[in-house]
Symmetry: C3
């Protein structure tokens, strides 16, 4: 029986890991559909390779950095033979689950830097981000490292509550991406000589929508399985994720004037924002938080592109960065008992945790991509960018048969 | 331990909800592939927005109407603090699961009314259908409302048995769709001046197939997780779904003369038909029921399009309406102990439940879409229909870059 | 409680079955993306129909052949009423799970024989392979039939260890495919008059990548749920699958010079190779095994196509056949306790089991496809091959609307 309990947890967390792993396919296809045809292959390869590099880096470095666990013992020990490892390899499945979170950092950034970034510098950035930058903040928030959470609790009565990572994952990814995008500069032809934006149309709405669907479906694993065990599994997390997602869809529909890109990204905006408080908010609060995120994304995307002239191709800064920050703060509002939530949060702690996370990530983005810019360089040559990353880097296009005139 | 039991049920029903949620992506891509290129974006947005509207409507109105449960209490109560709510938010996950069923109603209809329906009237229809029309019959069959089931049991010895919704979901959706399609009329150019059908070719078999795959995969959640708890989980439901699906594939292959659209829809026909009796039929009975459905779909589709001149674009009336009715009745045959089933069904109850459901849905379809037709209007202008719903409604096509000549 | 335990196992194995079923969609789309546009529909229909035929064949013949179980008893018995059937239909779910493995045999072969094989002979081959050829070796290895495993254990101290089927499934499929491909001959125009290869470009990298993603995601079910019960669920299997997959990606990236086809197939190569020893190797061992497989695939694919002039379209012999054999042998190396593994394996048993499996499968491939060649014929007519299997067999192309000039 004891053992069955552990088997159930292994199964539970594994399904979460599989679902979030599938989200990475979603990141890939969302980018495939949003970029131009000549950069589709690059989007696919980047996401898969970033995932692989993230896994290896997090296995050997990042996870140990955040949680102090190292896997350099024999398989019998790893599977539950003591040494702090849980039975039936439960610890290993938890690692798998958290790896899919860590790998979301480069996957988020990928959408911002699309269509003009060199391949290998991005690989190096992935290693640095997943090995050091992300696990540092992850460990601070989720493992109580460096006493930040203890200080918040002592000072404001509650820790920074970020259940599934509105800030720890999405906010950090989105604000690093802002730094990377600013250092990288806009795509050729994105703004005219007077700085006016020139539309660069997406290649394929069906692929964009497929990416969004894969992300939405997997997101329920992202949120619910964060509980880590069947005993802690909560239907509230599931329904809150659902309500925030539909809130994001409906707000983006209205504010975004029925634009398909906004509607499909609106779902994601709602899901980004609900992560932090999904375990403590009321479903109606989640609907409002999600709707807010959907509206924030549409307005933020247009502001980012047209006013600030930041050429963030998929809008990952508004989507993950701003909506993530909104989610971190909103958990401190809609998590309150007075608004039907479960309570136990402090708005001040939420604001501080969010601002610290965003500031840290933006600074880290500037540092990591700044060093790379001054060493390896970040951008494709003008010729390669014009040709497209597919032919320039991968020597093949997305539809090779078609190129040959069939 | 007690708690682990509930956690297991939360997990079980949640996976079902996620799988059926993913089916909605399947509805979207099945329609994307079947319609013309100029209506692909509209298919994608319709399904996502209908899902969002369905969720909100079912949360605030429909679920209460069917089951008498309202969610307007605080999150602590919702999560299992009494008031009829189960521990660990199990009630909320069950709501999520049933929401994905309710949202299937507009998703089914969407395929029938494709390529010429206005956007906002369909949104209003979704709210009416998911708020009132569907939960009324759902509550009658699955919650024993209004004494219909009690009367059947008293009169014929058994209730109307519709385990996972051949009639309650698919039949109702399909017969409402028939009403909608008849009121809407055929697409421009679908029949010539003498009423002869003119083929309108699908845009993409790969997208059609992807939609079918997503539906097939998710369908195992649709059927198996209807059990609602691990104690009631039944491998028989799983294998019956499998057998009916492959029966539908093979029958559609033969009857449909190796046409890819028929083969991929044949799988769905089998799955529609098996829902009702999947918990009580023998696997060989399910194979026969599925094969029957595959044949019925092919013949029904061609009859509908060519003889009856009903321009049901995806054939949702034959697929969900007729095959759903076949499934409801077949459960009363192949569920019998004499045919290897588990018994406990009455053929008369099955026929009555099916006929009542189909008649009710057809009438409701005429009422809802009839009111909308006489108020908001149902059809796009001829100009907009010619232009395509994508550009007319969403101001963008499925492949914007291609339109600009790259 | 007792019952809950069984319900948990039903759920566990069912999720595995669903995941591996979804892999078949992956097989379909991997082939869709790799073949030319004129053969995309055929790829889709072949996989779906092969799956259906496999299910029926395995239900009535193959499963009984391998495990001695027949389903020709009533549903009450099947669901757990004695006769060797487990409670809650657990036996049926296990059958479903293993059906998805059996159906992988024709799905693997499909990619090798693509673009020029007749439809109905392949259907007959599927029945023969899933009814007899595969279950014979499956039963020998996984059910101890014919004393082969007992002999290995007596002679070399351990049975042939193939946990999730590197050899039993992938190796057998890949080596049968080699026989089929050799008998079938190269596609028209694949080699010039002097035998020099002429590149035939794939139609769509996004579809190829989608196939790879579906396979990768489902593969975690393929490996982990092979345990068959929650008590036996092992996180080690999950993490080893993960590590081998990323090893395959990274090795294919480097050896394959950033080619997207190699990178996406490299992930699969790693997963093929890790099946056998995923339950006993150390994660670092799995990383090495996967990396080895990624490199083997790239080199093997180029050797196969260019040196050996074997026109194996998707490279299923290097991918499943050679990497499967590598996985079978590698389990005997990296499973050793001295290399951090759990031990209990014999390298000699691994080599013998692998060589016997590959030899048997190659011979069976020659026999089955040889008989078909001399009776029904294997190849499309030159005219049909030139026209494409879509129009020749299915009378429709992948994008019918486009063909008509919209």
């Amino acid at each position: 029986m004891n053992s069955t309990g552990v088997g159930g947890d292994v199964f539970f967390v594994l399904v979460g890991a599989i679902l979030v792993f599938a989200m990475h396919g979603g990141f890939a296809f969302l980018e495939v559909g949003t970029v131009r045809h000549k950069n589709q292959v690059n989007a696919l390869v980047k996401i898969l390779v970033d995932f692989a590099l993230s896994t290896v880096t997090y296995f050997f470095v990042g996870y140990a950095f955040a949680y102090g666990t190292t896997f350099l013992v024999d398989a019998a020990t790893l599977s539950g033979g003591g040494g702090g490892f849980e039975l039936q390899g439960l610890t290993l499945v938890k690692f798998f689950f958290l790896t899919t979170f860590a790998a979301a950092i480069p996957a988020i950034i990928s959408g911002g830097i699309a269509e003009r970034m060199k391949f290998w510098p991005q690989c190096v950035a992935t290693v640095a981000l997943v090995g050091i930058v992300y696990p540092l903040y992850e460990g601070i928030v989720w493992n109580g490292n460096f006493g930040f959470q203890a200080w918040l609790e002592a000072t404001f009565g509650a820790q920074f509550h970020d259940f599934a990572g509105s800030v720890v994952v999405h906010g950090v990814g989105g604000w690093i991406a802002l730094g990377a995008v600013l250092l990288l500069g806009a795509r050729m032809g994105r703004y005219d000589s007077k700085g006016r934006p020139i539309g660069i149309p997406p290649s394929s709405l069906p692929w964009l929508a497929m990416g969004s669907w894969m992300l939405c479906v997997g997101w329920f694993g992202f949120n619910v399985m964060t509980a880590g065990s069947l005993d802690a599994a909560s239907g509230l997390v599931a329904i809150n994720s659902l309500m925030a997602m539909v809130g994001g869809i409906l707000a983006a529909l209205v504010v975004g004037k029925n634009d398909p890109g906004f509607v499909h990204n609106g779902a994601l905006a709602g899901l980004v924002a609900v992560c932090a408080g999904s375990d403590i908010m009321h479903p109606i609060g989640s609907l409002i938080v999600g709707a807010g995120a959907g509206a924030i994304f549409v307005i933020g995307f247009e502001m980012c592109q047209n006013k600030l002239k930041v050429d963030d191709v998929l809008g990952v800064w508004p989507l993950h960065g701003i909506c993530g920050a909104w989610g971190g703060i909103a958990a401190g509002i809609f998590g309150l008992e007075s608004l039907g939530g479960l309570g136990g949060v402090s708005l001040m702690s939420q604001i501080i945790g969010t601002v610290v996370g965003a500031t840290y990530a933006l600074a880290a983005g500037f540092v990591v991509y700044g060093i790379l810019k001054s060493t390896m360089g970040l951008r494709l040559s003008q010729e390669d960018e014009h040709l497209g990353a597919d032919l320039a880097i991968h020597k093949i296009s997305a539809n090779p048969e078609h190129d040959l005139g069939r």
